[in-house]
Every structure is written in C-alpha cells, then in structure tokens.
C-alpha cells in the first residue's frame, strides 16, 4: 500500500515541482492556504491554525512542510515558526513519525569565501526570512527529539529548475547552493524511505553542482544516500 503524504504549501514555489517526483509512488494530500493554480485537488489549510493542520494530517504517514513566508514582520513568524510548531505538534499528537522541512541555507553571507563546507553553524541574522526559518528548524529539532519524529530539513539557496541533473553535472559553473528539481525529488524520496534519522533530526545541504569545491552534500550522501551523476 502506498504511503500517504500531506504536502503543506502545495501551491508555493517548491512543492508543485516536487510533486511530479512523488505522485507515482505515494498518495499525496495537497494543502495550502491558497488554491493550487495547477490541476489537482488542494485542501485549504492555514498552517497558522492548529486545528486545520491537525485535521489535514489525520491518517497520513508523513508531512512535508513547504509553507513559507519571507519578508512579512508578522506572517513570517506565524507561518514559519508557529506553523512549524503546529506541524510537529500535530505529528506528535497523531503518531506521525516522519516530517520533511525546508529552510534557506544560513551561511552564504558569512562563508562564501570558504571551501569544503558541510554542516557549518547556522548564522541567520535578524532578517525575517532567515531568522524565522532558523527558529523553525530549532522547533522541529526540539519536538522531533522529544516525540521521536524522524525529521529531515533540507537547506538550499535556490533552485535551478530548468536544468536536468545530467545537464548540471556537465556544466562548467552553476549557482552555488542551488538544487535542480530532480535532485530535490530524489532527496525527498530518500528521506521518506530511510529507516531512521540519527538523533531524530538532521539538516542537509541540498545542491546539484559541486564544481566550485565550496559547498558539499557529503552528509546527505552519507546518511540519506543522496547521489549525483558523475560529471
């Protein structure tokens, strides 16, 4: 029987491009505060309302939270921080043992001059987007460990959606810390199928091009089995 997944933020910038890589192997329940412009049913769920998240998550095997608000002084906290707490609290209440979360990488501003970077410290700063996503990761980390919810957080700076992973592998340069859709789809599948996550919470760099020798995804390779085509 296929696993049932709840995708929150299904109408946003990321989820609609991840869905094609999941829909053949999973039953997807799409949800967003706004109707999805593409075809397909999408439940209306406001992540800032706990009862709505709880109701939507009933009966699913995993929650993928792609909801995000970037620059709004109030909604960034409500959607990103409170929303993450609602997701993890609902997962705990319903016995859901798997959550996938996303966040922006939190290091480029301070580390772009360095190389071979994997799992460096998070330096969010005070901007609404990066700070609230860092706080949301901490919320996920705390509740994942407390309630034994295997939780993965994918970090990336942007997406290079128009390219295939094979094309990127052969390129001479590509934006740092960007990931193509195929690779993010692969990472989601791996995160959904891996038996357990060490310490119940891990964050992973997600990127599709390693030519600069700057950022790497060694941890994702080591723990999730994330693979890239050879250049």
């Amino acid at each position: 029987m296929k696993k049932k997944l709840l995708l929150l933020g299904a109408s946003g910038g990321v989820a609609p491009r991840v869905i094609p890589g999941l829909e053949s192997d999973y039953d997807l329940l799409l949800a967003d505060i706004a109707p999805r412009p593409q075809a397909g049913a999408c439940a209306q769920v406001d992540i800032t309302r706990y009862e709505q998240v709880l109701e939507a998550a009933a009966g699913v095997d995993a929650i993928l939270n792609f909801s995000v608000i970037r620059g709004d002084p109030t909604q960034s906290f409500h959607v990103n921080v409170l929303g993450a707490w609602h997701v993890m609290t609902a997962a705990a209440e319903l016995g859901i043992s798997r959550v996938i979360h996303t966040a922006p990488q939190l290091l480029r501003e301070d580390y772009d001059w360095d190389f071979d970077l994997d799992d460096p410290p998070a330096m969010a700063g005070t901007g609404y987007y990066t700070l609230t996503r860092m706080l949301s990761m901490e919320v996920c980390r705390v509740l994942a460990r407390a309630h034994r919810i295997h939780t993965v957080c994918f970090l990336f700076a942007g997406v290079g959606g128009e390219f295939s992973r094979e094309q990127v592998a052969e390129m001479r340069d590509f934006p740092a810390f960007y990931i193509v859709w195929e690779d993010l789809q692969q990472a989601c599948r791996l995160a959904l199928e891996i038996e357990s996550i060490p310490d119940y919470f891990q964050e992973f760099n997600m990127l599709s091009y390693f030519g600069q020798g700057k950022y790497n995804a060694d941890k994702a390779k080591r723990i999730l089995g994330f693979q890239r085509p050879a250049p």
Binding site: F77, L82, W85, A124, T126, L131, V142, A146
Partner: protein, 253 residues
C-alpha cells in the same frame, strides 16, 4: 543609564527594578494592569505589549539599555484560554515579541541588551555532569523553556548583526531562599535577589564597538554557588557575580 525593563509587573522584573533604581533611570513596560500600583517611585510606567510594535517603539525611545526579562505574560484576556492558545501566544511573544523589541531598540540607538534565558534548557542532561556555557542546549518541548530558548537565539542574532552588547543570562529556578527552607535542595535554585544582581552586572558589559561578534555576545549561567554544582558559574564570576543566597542550610543537611 536610562533602562527599559520588560514584563515589569512580574516578580523577577520588580526585583531587577529594585536592584537598579538607585543607580539608574528606569522605564517599566508591561500591559499587565498590576504594574500601575505603586511603581511610579521606581520608574516611569509604560503600558503596552511586546507584540505592539508602535507601543514598543515608544517605550524604547531615549533608552540606553533594555533589560528583557522574558518573563512570559499571561495570555490575552480575550479569546480562547485553552492550553493550545496559551502555548501559541507564548511562542509568538517570545520570538516575534523579542524581535520587535530588539529591532525597535537598535533603530532608536540602544546599545546594551540583557536577556533573561533559563537553565531549564539543560534539564534533559543527566545529573552527574558539570554544565558550562559550552554545552549544547537541549530544551524539551515544554513551551516555557523552549520559547525562552528561541528568544535567546533572537537576541544572539541581534548581537551578530548590530554593534550592540547583548548578554543572555540563563537563570536557574527562581526562588526566595527563606521561602524554601526545609525543602529538598535543587541544584538549579537561584534566589531572585541574586538573579537581579546578575542583571545589574550584565548591564555593565559594554562591547558594542568590538568588531568580534563573540565579544558583543555573551552567555552566563546564573544560579546559586553550591558544593559540587551541576551548573558552573565560573564565567559569571568574570562579570562580578557573587551570589549571596546559596541555600547553605539545605546543602549542609
């Protein structure tokens, strides 16, 4: 200095105000009506919530320092008062409210922040370890401690981004020594008067001009000075912290 104290109606904030009032000019911020009685002798009373950006901006204007005690207020009197609503409010207050406060403070030229965090974030560690500021916080999901930890992270990021001195005091379990006589001692106990002393001392830190973030930002563990302690206060001693209420009767017994 001109100092703003948040959650001013709380017992912790009142103790801080009593400690500071002879040496500094105080402004007391809270939306709790209990603040208004008899506080005028201590400082200027300003009514408002941390979640009201306009009220906060007015409160921080003209201040040199902010003491954010982070003592959680009661949830709003209107609306749902169930556990979920209270936890949602506490999370929002600790994260967004702290951001509103410090953002307004840096915009109005405040250069010193002191934040009241908690040692409860180490509760999950075993009893037989010595926990210094170098230990990784592992807060549980209980909202009072977790939200306070998240507020500490917000405070830290302001020290990273701005030329301000930010100091977080991870406070033990607040008690009054005379009120816990006869009780089984707790390694996390901290007398409220000693906590107030720590806030006073933290205000003396002035590293906002230092180019190093790690100098602008500091963390101190604050609890009683007891034999064979669980929480090490050696770092706090470097700013002059000398607790006077150390529960000797219980620890000698």
């Amino acid at each position: 200095m001109r100092i703003l104290i948040t959650s001013a109606a709380s017992p912790m904030a009142r103790a801080v105000a009593a400690e500071l009032k002879d040496d500094h000019q105080l402004r007391l911020l809270d939306d709790d009506p209990a603040l208004e009685t008899g506080e005028e002798e201590v400082g200027e009373v300003v009514r408002g919530s941390l979640l009201d950006a306009d009220a906060v901006w007015q409160a921080v204007r003209g201040m040199d320092a902010v003491v954010h005690t982070a003592e959680p207020p009661a949830a709003p009197k209107t609306g749902n008062q169930d556990s979920m609503a209270k936890q949602q409010f506490m999370l929002d207050w600790a994260t967004r409210g702290t951001h509103i406060l410090f953002q307004a403070a840096v915009e109005t030229g405040v250069r010193r922040f002191v934040y009241g965090s908690t040692l409860e974030i180490f509760s999950s560690y075993p009893e037989d370890v010595y926990i210094s500021e170098l230990w990784k916080p592992r807060p549980g999901p209980e909202m009072p401690a977790m939200s306070r930890y998240l507020g500490e992270l917000v405070c830290r990021e302001f020290a990273r981004d701005f030329p301000v001195t930010a100091t977080a005091l991870r406070l033990g379990r607040i008690v009054i020594e005379e009120e816990v006589e006869g009780q089984r001692p707790d390694a996390m106990w901290l007398d409220r008067r000693d906590a107030a002393q720590a806030f006073h001392l933290a205000l003396n830190r002035d590293r906002g001009d230092d180019l190093r973030f790690t100098a602008r930002w500091a963390l101190y563990h604050i609890c009683a000075d007891i034999p064979n302690p669980r929480f090490l206060i050696d770092s706090a001693r470097t700013i002059g912290y000398r607790p006077e209420h150390n529960f000797h009767k219980q620890w000698k017994a």
